[in-house]
Amino acid sequence: MPSLSYVAAVNRALRDEMARDERVCVLGEDVSQGITGLTKGLAAVYGTDRVVDMPLSEQAFTSLATGAAIAGQRPVVEFQIPSLLYLVFEQIANQAHKFSLMTGGQAAVPVTYLFPGSGSRSGMAGQHSDHPYSLLAHVGIKTAVPSTPSDAYGLLLSAIREPDPVAVFAPTLLMGASEEIDDDDLEAVPLGSARVCREGTDVTVVAVGHLVPVALQVAEGMAGEASVEVIDPRTVYPVDWETLGKSITRTGRLVVIDDSNRMCGFGAEIVATAVEEFGLTVPPVRLSRPDGAVIPYALNLDHALLPDGRGLAGAIRAVLR
């Protein structure tokens, strides 16, 4: 079977949607050159009128996309660093997101925000290593963190087709991943649909983004010890509570591993909702970055702050005890 890389899957989704829908266009810094890899080659096919290099004005071009979307376009906006989200938080959370309700439904804002290279970039230090999707979830922006090439393809397709703003994160540690898949099997993946990646009966592990393969590996490694179910929520907002609820209610045990900060992070929400609604039998465990984490430069310090497989195995053992 042919092999599809994560970056190629994103690129492919952009190509396919641009071919399907004339209104889809790509805006961002250096996108005609495809510096992040995601937009490589698009300008040659669709022209620099649809694959438009932006000046270093993230705020203005984020709202340009809002205006263009209200006027009928379907812009995909690429940001070179996930922490640029902070710079455009006003334009996303206070403008694009609120337009529909504030106007009483007169117009929606179908924009997709692409954040390649999220999470630690190993040695890129404090301002280039954040994983800020929980912030978007808090304000209610639909947000996907695909963990496989086919999900990256399918979720990006849905993001572009969605009438509301949607953010898509492509974690650094997955950018090089690949998957054996037939082109024909690529399809849209609905936002808000979790994937049960591995079935199990003893404990439910909810893992996000690049931690999904880590969780699967840990689960396999512990196969003799415990039957671990691994679920990838795929979108951190909205959450597929039905799929999560079924699993958690069945196992009664929960471990969440995600790469955002602990305090008010995605893990907190999963744990909170689980204990409120899904009947846990033992206290759950959450793995995350520390409160308020700033990733240091030196690699050993960087890694020391990130949730990992060893911690996950320990957490699984703890809830099984």
């Binding site: 340009l64 529909s100 309700l101 929606a108």
Partner: protein
């Protein structure tokens, strides 16, 4: 202008009475800008407005009755009662909304112009209204650059009313607006913003040039707001303009100026017409129903996301 003036007077009264909650930022004194500029626009042109947006919204053609209903929180309002004063919009008329955040509309207007070009409609103009204070907002300056870079048909209208809330323009702005704008490659000009014909003339030239592909323009309109920054201002006990200054501005009232150009009969006719419109608007707005609280999350998303309730 008379419509805006009477609408605003009506709103002042209703804000005081509490029928309009949250208060308003009155546009009184600045009417010539919205009216002069909008006179040059087509229905399919786009505008973005500000916290002080009633004038722009009405001048661009929004129904005064539905605008008032919006301020009353009625389901018949422009925004179905969801937006209120600071978010009044009529997207079908190219009114992409008042905006509660200073400067936020400028790049949205640039986006509308850019989209029109993509759709092969670059005779369509987008106008961004904003105040003197907004010239200090980074995103506005970024928008200048982008519009100029791509020669987009955008008219930036800066209503320089001398103050950003209590801050006099010379304590907020280094240099002058026209020079600043020109420094970004905008074709920039200043005009007496209290003379509707002067505004219409300058805006007309700018809009025509935009339509003809001459790139973005900037118009500084020197004007004055006759009332406080917001209807609750008097509660704050602030004092940043002396009475003489305000009185002097009233003597340049754009409405009086324009009235002097009309025959008394024509002026009286306008008055009657407007009085009827306002009375109709009041009748419509005050008899319109509110919305069911159970629908408070309606329109949050256009797509199908079941937003979980909070409590």
């Amino acid at each position: 202008m008379r419509l805006i003036r009477e609408f605003e007077e009506h709103c002042l009264e209703k804000a005081l009475a509490g029928t309009i909650v949250g208060g308003i930022h009155p546009y009184i004194g600045q009417e010539a800008v919205a009216v002069g500029v909008s006179a040059c626009l087509r229905a399919d042109d786009v505008i973005t407005s500000t916290h002080r947006g009633h004038g722009h919204v009405l001048a661009k053609g929004a129904d005064p009755a539905r605008a008032l209903a919006e301020l009353y929180g009625a389901s018949t309002g422009l925004n179905r009662g969801r937006g209120g004063s600071m978010h009044a919009a009529d997207v079908s008329l190219g009114i992409y909304g008042a905006n509660g955040i200073v400067g936020a509309g400028a790049p949205i207007a640039v986006g509308a112009a850019w989209a029109a070009r993509r759709a092969g409609r670059d005779d369509r103009v987008a106008v961004a209204f904003f105040g003197d204070g907004a010239l200090s907002q980074g995103v506005v300056l970024e928008a200048f650059n982008m519009a100029a870079l791509w020669s987009l048909p955008v008219l930036f209208v800066c209503e320089n009313n001398g103050y950003a809330t209590s801050l006099p323009v010379d304590r907020g702005l280094a240099g002058d607006p026209v020079t600043r704008a020109a420094g970004f490659g905008l074709t920039a000009e200043a005009v007496d913003g209290m003379d509707v014909e002067a505004v219409a003339e300058a805006a007309g030239r700018a809009v025509d040039a935009c339509r003809a592909g001459a790139g973005p323009h900037f118009l500084e309109c020197a004007t004055y707001r006759f009332h406080g920054h917001h209807t609750v201002e008097h509660l704050m006990g602030t004092k940043y303009r002396d009475d003489d200054e305000v009185a002097g501005a009233w003597s340049r009232d754009p409405l009086t100026r324009q009235r002097d150009r009309l025959t008394p009969e024509a002026a009286a006719e306008v008055d009657t017409e407007i009085a009827v419109l306002i009375a109709e608007a009041e009748a419509f707005a005050s008899s319109s129903p509110g919305s069911d609280p159970g629908d408070a999350l309606d329109y949050l998303y256009a797509g199908l996301v079941p937003a979980r309730p909070g409590a």
